[in-house]
């Protein structure tokens, strides 16, 4: 057993982080908030880097990697708050022309919601009767549709990976702030009340990480359900605690914390609901042949 990142996986993660730092850093992120829309040049660059064709066999022009590598790439996307229908386009690679290379933008019905419908060149699922809404997440345009699409376990796993990346980032942001913001003559991170908030954030991140990575290795539905529950918890609760650590600054538009929180809320609505995941995990407890026991 070697349940750790391989050297290649570390290199891949570092490569994606470097690309996103360079092409979707903080300035670009804030510019996207002020002028919403999909950056087609960046989309093609992601395509060239193999973001969408990552799991496509090499014979079909893909990178030929697996779910663990995809999970690492999507974790970085979540960390950077990268915009666009990333999961839908990744899943469409090899099926929708241009998806693999980033020439096409593919949206998909997930639950009763479609992200990025107006920017999409292709849509998967039935969008008859789609109605635009004013999206709570300033970086993700949304439509509602009357008929729900079927849940896709791989989409759920990649979403969990994005949640993990976001949770890890909000923990870092909280710690950075707690180290530098001074009140009562010392950094607020010296106070246990603040310290313990940060510790609990890290605990949720690390527990979710084990679950998400394991689900990437096994692709087992119960591992994926577990990953979804724990990554949602880590991202939503983490963004809230990060906001709390930032105090009044956390409640402002100019802080990035609300962008993480709103996206975490949006992602938590994708795929099966928490109640459905819990029901599946409960059913496993009394199943004749239970899921992964070890």
């Amino acid at each position: 057993m070697d349940f750790q990142l391989t050297d290649d996986q570390r290199a891949l993660r570092a490569g994606v982080r470097e690309l996103l730092d360079r092409r979707f850093g903080r300035e670009r992120l804030r510019a996207a908030v002020d002028a919403p829309g999909l950056d087609r040049a960046l989309w093609r660059e992601l395509g060239e880097a193999g973001f969408f064709a990552l799991r496509l066999p090499e014979a079909e022009g893909g990178v030929g990697l697996g779910l663990p590598e995809a999970v690492l790439a999507f974790e970085e996307a979540g960390r950077a708050l990268l915009t666009g229908p990333l999961v839908a386009t990744h899943l469409a690679a090899g099926e929708v022309p241009g998806a693999a290379t980033g020439e096409a933008v593919v949206a998909a019905v997930d639950g009763t919601v479609v992200e990025w419908l107006d920017e999409a060149d292709a849509v998967r699922g039935d969008v008859t009767g789609a109605v635009a809404m004013r999206s709570a997440d300033p970086l993700t345009p949304l439509h509602r549709v009357p008929r729900a699409g079927p849940p896709d376990p791989v989409a759920a796993l990649l979403t969990a990976a994005e949640q993990l990346g976001s949770a890890s980032r909000t923990c870092e942001l909280a710690v950075q702030h707690a180290r530098t913001r001074e009140q009562f003559g010392r950094p607020i991170g010296a106070f246990q009340a603040v310290k313990h908030l940060c510790s609990e954030m890290l605990v949720r991140v690390e527990v979710a990480r084990g679950a998400v990575y394991a689900a990437a290795v096994t692709a087992d539905p119960l591992d994926i359900a577990t990953a979804g529950l724990l990554a949602d918890e880590a991202a939503e609760h983490g963004a809230r605690d990060c906001l709390q650590v930032h105090g009044g600054m956390g409640f402002t538009w100019e802080s990035d914390v609300h962008l993480h929180l709103k996206r975490a809320w949006l992602r938590a609505r994708r795929g099966q609901s928490a109640a459905e995941a819990e029901e599946a995990l409960a059913a496993d407890l009394v199943a004749a042949a239970p899921g992964p026991r070890t």
Partner: protein, 384 residues
């Protein structure tokens, strides 16, 4: 990322399973919880069986008489013994998991030869004399003092929360040998024979009604200077070498056990009709996710320590914070499944629920663990 086991690891597992199937039916009946001499004999007997089969000191280095097994083999051992219902480490806990490894790391050749083999063979029991009434979370504030008198230290003071004190042969004892030095620098580590004159052991009754540990009073107890491990006043470092030596395996058996218990609880709920309660059923589903994730985190941590060659880490604090809470949640959920039975002391669930309350306190409270995570992993400034 690979969750599959190597052929060598699978072979280790298969041989262990085969051995367990062979020997477990022949074990004597479990002694009652209050029968301390019986418990000692039972636990030592199991250790002797492990020794004879080549499983004693699996995680100890080979030059200390151990097997030098990898963290993954240790994980497999703990997983399989728990699944097979084998006895727990019990009275051998301190000897195998703390005092022994400390002596192996810091003791002289003579000390290693004297104390290590009897632990591995299941002949001697150790207990731990660390905490004091006024030194709990702030362990380094301990006040039990040792005055040098010729070739002996003369030790006076009191220790608390000492498990197995009634039946121990030796106590790994932290004493203050320099009252003027800063608190971490005036402590020494001694091996105290429990039959020395001047030792009084008084059992402490826990909220579960059992006597799981004791107070130990020391009145001018003579301990040979030769029983000191490490230099005088270097005992804090000597202790921490082992205390922070965590390979991710500390809770393997417990997580396996909790997953089994959760399955039993779900079947119980199906039987008594509580399964039809949607809220309760989902809570059990959530607990399934919780313990599956803790199992995955265990595999992650064990692989990490395998890669680093067992370098001390603080990842154990992250794990313990989540696990201790999850265990309490499990037994709270059990109470809601069981209804009035949860108030019946003759139900094993009741005692287990009461015992679970110690998990957020023992071996470093959750508050201390959060400080450790914040300061040593996240790099937040010290301060209260």
């Amino acid at each position: 990322m690979d969750l599959s086991y190597t052929p060598e690891e699978e072979e280790f597992r298969a041989r262990l399973r085969e051995w367990l199937t062979k020997v477990l039916p022949g074990l004597p009946p479990k002694p009652s919880p209050d029968d301390w001499p019986g418990r000692r004999a039972y636990d030592l007997g199991w250790q002797r069986m492990l020794y004879d089969a080549g499983y004693a000191g699996l995680h100890w280095p080979a030059d200390a008489g151990g097997r030098g097994a990898t963290p993954t083999q240790h994980l497999i051992f703990l997983e399989e013994t728990e699944k097979a219902g084998a006895p727990y480490v019990g009275a051998n806990f301190v000897g195998l998991l703390h005092a022994g490894p400390t002596i192996a790391a810091e003791g002289s050749a003579g000390q290693r030869a004297r104390w290590l083999p009897p632990v591995l063979r299941g002949e001697e029991v150790w207990c731990q004399g660390f905490s004091e009434p006024d030194a709990g979370s702030d362990l380094a504030a301990l006040r039990t003092r040792a005055r040098r008198d010729g070739d002996d230290y003369v030790v006076s003071g009191s220790k608390i929360w000492t498990s197995h004190a009634e039946v121990a042969d030796w106590c790994e004892l932290l004493v203050r040998t320099d009252a003027k030095a800063p608190k971490h620098r005036g402590i020494s580590w001694l091996a105290m024979p429990m039959d020395a004159p001047g030792i009084t052991v008084r059992p402490l009754r826990t909220l579960a009604g059992s006597t799981e540990f004791a107070e130990v009073f020391l009145d001018e107890v003579r301990v040979p200077v030769a029983n000191r491990v490490g230099e005088e006043n270097d005992g804090w470092r000597v202790t921490m070498v082992t205390l922070s030596f965590e390979r991710g395996t500390a809770f393997v058996g417990e997580v396996v056990a909790c997953r089994r218990v959760l399955g039993e609880l779900a079947r119980e709920a199906r039987k008594n009709g509580r399964w039809d309660d949607t809220v309760l059923r989902r809570r059990l589903g959530r607990l399934n996710a919780e313990f599956l994730a803790l199992w995955r985190l265990t595999q992650w941590n064990v692989s990490e320590s395998e890669r680093s060659g067992g370098v001390p880490g603080v990842g154990g604090s992250v794990f313990k914070l989540r696990y201790s809470r999850a265990r309490q949640d499990l037994y709270d959920a059990a109470a809601d499944v069981l209804g009035p039975e949860a108030l019946d002391l003759d139900s094993p669930w009741t005692l287990d629920r009461l015992s679970s309350l110690s998990y957020t306190i023992a071996a470093g409270t959750s508050q201390i663990q959060r400080n450790i995570v914040a300061e040593r992993i996240l790099g937040l400034p010290k301060g209260r």
